[in-house]
């Protein structure tokens, strides 16, 4: 049963990745990116990271995709049809190198042994929330400052120059 779920989710993810890489229209690529996000959220649920699955849906599938859709509607696409698709020469140069590195990574993962602490976390959301607000309190605050900085930077970049 576990492998059945894995096969379903991974096939879904691989098909969506192909869509993101090779579809011509940016809107179609964005739609297959949304499909990939849903597949990855399912993978998180399968790996019992429920909090992260929910946050993936909220942050990626809503916030980030809405950013992209807004920008795509801002830019007039009929003028920029010449930049669709992908570079052929870079495709044929880059594909063997990335295939080789995938083989190396896969070898390292399949042959390697991972350390095991052996803890079994029962209540995922509670544990993650607790450690976010005790052990990782300072990184959480720094992350909020980073979000604020990014917001100010986006406003500065997007304002009208005179």
């Amino acid at each position: 049963m576990e492998w059945l779920i894995f096969a379903f989710l991974s096939t879904w993810a691989v098909l969506s990745v192909m869509g993101v890489l090779f579809l011509k229209n940016p809107v179609h690529a964005l739609l297959s990116f949304v499909s990939l996000i849903l597949a990855v959220a399912g993978m998180f649920l399968h790996l019992r990271a429920e909090l992260l699955a929910g946050l993936q849906l909220i942050i990626y599938a809503v916030a980030i995709v809405v950013f992209y859709v807004l920008v795509i509607t801002t830019i007039p696409w009929e003028k920029v049809k010449r930049f669709e698709g992908f570079y052929k020469r870079e495709f044929f140069l880059g594909f063997p190198i990335l295939l080789l590195s995938f083989a190396l990574f896969a070898y390292a993962i399949l042959k390697g042994n991972f350390a095991s602490v052996g803890l079994e976390v029962k209540d995922n959301v509670k544990e993650v929330g607790k450690s976010l607000f005790t052990t990782y309190l300072l990184p959480l605050e720094v992350a909020s400052v980073i979000l604020l900085t990014a917001m100010i930077g986006a406003i500065l970049l997007g304002r009208k120059e005179e």
Binding site: A49, F83, E120
Partner: protein, 100 residues
């Protein structure tokens, strides 16, 4: 081969195809979507290692990566809109100011 290792293989695939997309795509917006693919791959690797080792630290780091991804996409799309409005650029081969 356990299910966590299989998920790690999928995450490596996601990361490398994001890198591939950054290399080959012509349009700037699809290039940014490919970087999101890379971030998703890293998140999946963190969560599956977490399940393998038995802890929650990887999920906390993945959460921070989500925050960084949101800010990255705000700044990146702001840059793309500014580039398009000021220069009319829309492809990754047009930005050659530093090269020339």
């Amino acid at each position: 081969m356990t299910i966590e290792k299989a998920y790690m293989l999928i995450s490596v695939f996601l990361f490398l195809s994001g890198l591939f997309g950054v290399i080959i795509r012509k349009n700037l917006i699809t290039l940014l979507i490919s970087t999101e693919l890379m971030l998703n791959g890293v998140n999946l690797a963190l969560v599956s290692v977490d399940r393998l080792v038995g802890g929650i630290e990887g999920q906390v780091f993945a959460l921070f990566i989500l925050a960084i991804a949101a800010s990255e996409v705000a700044v990146g799309l702001g840059l793309i809109v500014a580039l398009f409005r000021l220069k009319g650029y829309e492809g990754s081969s047009e930005i050659t100011h530093l090269r020339d």
